[in-house]
């Protein structure tokens, strides 16, 4: 058969395995989450993440094949995240992938995690129309890029300091919310009013982002007074984030005309960002492409789909860890 790719994603705290066809159909996807382990630390504890990956990765691979009801002989190859990410976590995924490749006699390709995120919008349904403006908002990254096709990506701007996801998690911790803070802040924000005028960093200039000042402003406010309801703090914080992301995206769309506006990464699950992105897309006359929420966070399916791109382009990257892999690399 050989018409499926096994995708392996272990760059951070999820052990994620999926089997995906060339056109993005997800035949199976299994994610072993480590949220409970890292919750008590308020963020990902890298050593414990790597330990957990090694315990769960083989059972997760088995579960993915069981769910798909296929045999390893039916796959074309294996794609594995080679960076960016946590070194211990990446090495478990890569060494596991190489072992499986030898045992099953299948090629193993190292894949850029960021390219996986960019492709997540085309999982299960081909949504993206090129050229596409992409906003990647995750725990590790925040950038705007224009994709001319699945392989040709021009990064337009990125964050100078914290990523949006990092900012969400840290503010979540300040508000006493469990890790990961993003979904909980989103929920809390719906109960509050955006009454606090938090700064909108670099709002009026260029396409670059900066979120450390906003994070510090929330911290200073909470240290100075307990006069504000947590829900109002959350609502005000989310409003500041959304306004910055949407303003920068609008500016990018004006400068780089695109047919679709794509938002990927874990923060793309935020309901207010999704709503604001729809308004912007309507205003700019572009099609909004949002991956279903389950594909917004780290998953093996996006790595498998990106691996298909590599195969088709003849880019056979050896599965070697590269911690600071950038968007322009493969």
């Amino acid at each position: 058969m050989s018409d499926l790719i096994l995708g392996i994603e272990t760059s951070c705290d999820d052990t994620a395995i999926a089997l995906v066809s060339e056109n993005g159909d997800v035949i199976s996807s299994v994610i072993s989450s480590q949220i409970e382990i890292h919750n008590e630390y308020g963020g990902v504890y890298p050593e414990f993440a790597a330990r957990e990956h090694i315990q769960t990765i083989i059972p997760t691979v088995k579960a993915a094949f069981d769910q798909a009801k296929i045999s390893p002989k039916d796959i074309k190859g294996i794609g594995v995240t080679r960076g960016p990410g946590l070194v211990g976590s990446l090495l478990v995924g890569i060494n596991t992938a190489i072992g499986l490749g030898h045992g099953w006699n299948k090629p193993v390709i190292g894949v850029n995690h960021l390219r996986g995120h960019l492709r997540s919008a085309d999982l299960e349904e081909q949504r993206v129309k090129f050229p596409a403006m992409v906003l990647l908002v995750s725990g590790g990254h925040t950038f705007l890029a224009q994709m001319k096709n699945p392989m040709e990506v021009q990064v337009l701007s990125s964050t100078r300091d914290d990523s949006v996801g990092e900012c969400f998690d840290k503010v979540g911790r300040m508000l006493g919310l469990d890790y990961p803070g993003g979904p909980k802040i989103d929920k809390l924000a719906h109960k509050g009013k955006p009454t606090i005028p938090f700064p909108r960093p670099m709002m009026d200039k260029g396409l670059e982002f900066s979120f450390s000042g906003l994070k510090a402003a929330v911290s200073r406010l909470l240290a100075a007074t307990d006069a504000h309801e947590d829900a109002d703090v959350a609502a005000s914080f989310v409003q500041a984030i959304v306004e910055v992301l949407i303003k920068k995206s609008e500016r990018a769309l004006k400068k780089h005309p695109s047919k679709s506006f794509v938002i990927v990464g874990g923060v793309a699950a935020n309901s207010q960002i999704r709503a604001a992105a729809q308004k912007l897309s309507d205003k700019m006359g572009v099609e909004l492409c949002l991956p279903p929420i389950k594909w917004a966070t780290d998953n093996g399916a996006m790595i498998a789909l990106a691996t298909w791109d590599y195969f088709k382009a003849g880019i056979i990257k050896p599965p070697k860890v590269q911690l600071n892999l950038t968007m322009s690399e493969f």
Binding site: R51, I58, P72, N95, I98, G99, L100, H102, G103, N105
Partner: protein
């Protein structure tokens, strides 16, 4: 039917391939300018020994303690290769390899010490008669009971002085053994094979966590 030995606990990674106890390939016999990771060594082994992966029927893997990341690379590779070939993986501690290396040189009780976290050590006690005992903790807490009947012993690793300071009455012999002889993975194959794990059981690198949870298989 071939046996594959993998060790990534010590500074020199090892891939050993053996047939019925005879070593066909040992990565320590080769030298390359560029440092190789364990999977690259495995590919060299396949090429040099002209074997097929399908002929491997058993994997013996060193599960540490050692550099936590390097140990994990070896164990992750061993687990996935064993799973994909449908064969067993047999875990061996680096402490055991150290102790057996010493015993092979001199038949005297061996205390092997590998520092792990803060002031805690993995401590191996091997007298050649009984299975190795592996304990974890601070030397001052663990050693008094363990060494109460000892008059002399060999200490492997680099912490002889710490033991000498705690137990000045014990004669300490230093054979200069800092790392284990990885060929012992093959020489003691019969012993290690008794611990064979087949999926859904897999090998775990040794840590203070799985030691406390009794998840370490020796």
């Amino acid at each position: 039917m071939l046996t594959l030995g993998i060790s990534t606990s010590f500074s020199n990674y090892a891939i050993i391939i053996a047939k019925a106890g005879d070593v066909l390939f040992n990565s320590n016999d080769l030298h390359f300018e560029e440092k190789k990771n364990i999977t690259e060594w495995f590919e060299v082994a396949l090429e040099e020994s002209k074997i097929s992966v399908k002929d491997i029927s058993k994997i013996i893997v060193d599960i540490g303690p050692g550099g936590t990341t390097s140990v994990r690379t070896g164990v992750a590779f061993a687990n996935s290769l064993a799973y994909s070939l449908g064969i067993a993986v047999c875990p061996v501690s680096s402490i055991e390899l150290l102790s057996m290396t010493s015993w092979a040189q001199q038949k005297t009780t061996v205390l092997s010490l590998i520092k792990f976290m803060k002031n805690d050590y993995f401590i191996g006690f091997y007298d050649g008669k009984n299975d190795i005992r592996i304990l974890y903790g601070e030397l001052a807490d663990v050693l008094p009971d363990l060494l109460k009947d000892e008059k002399s012993l060999i200490i492997t690793g680099k912490f002889q002085q710490k033991v000498a300071d705690l137990f000045p009455e014990i004669e300490i012999i230093n054979l200069g053994i800092m790392k284990g002889d990885t060929e012992l993975l093959i020489k003691n194959e019969d012993l290690f094979s008794k611990r064979a794990l087949k999926f859904p059981e897999i090998a775990f690198p040794i840590s203070e966590q799985n030691y406390a949870n009794n998840q370490v298989h020796f």
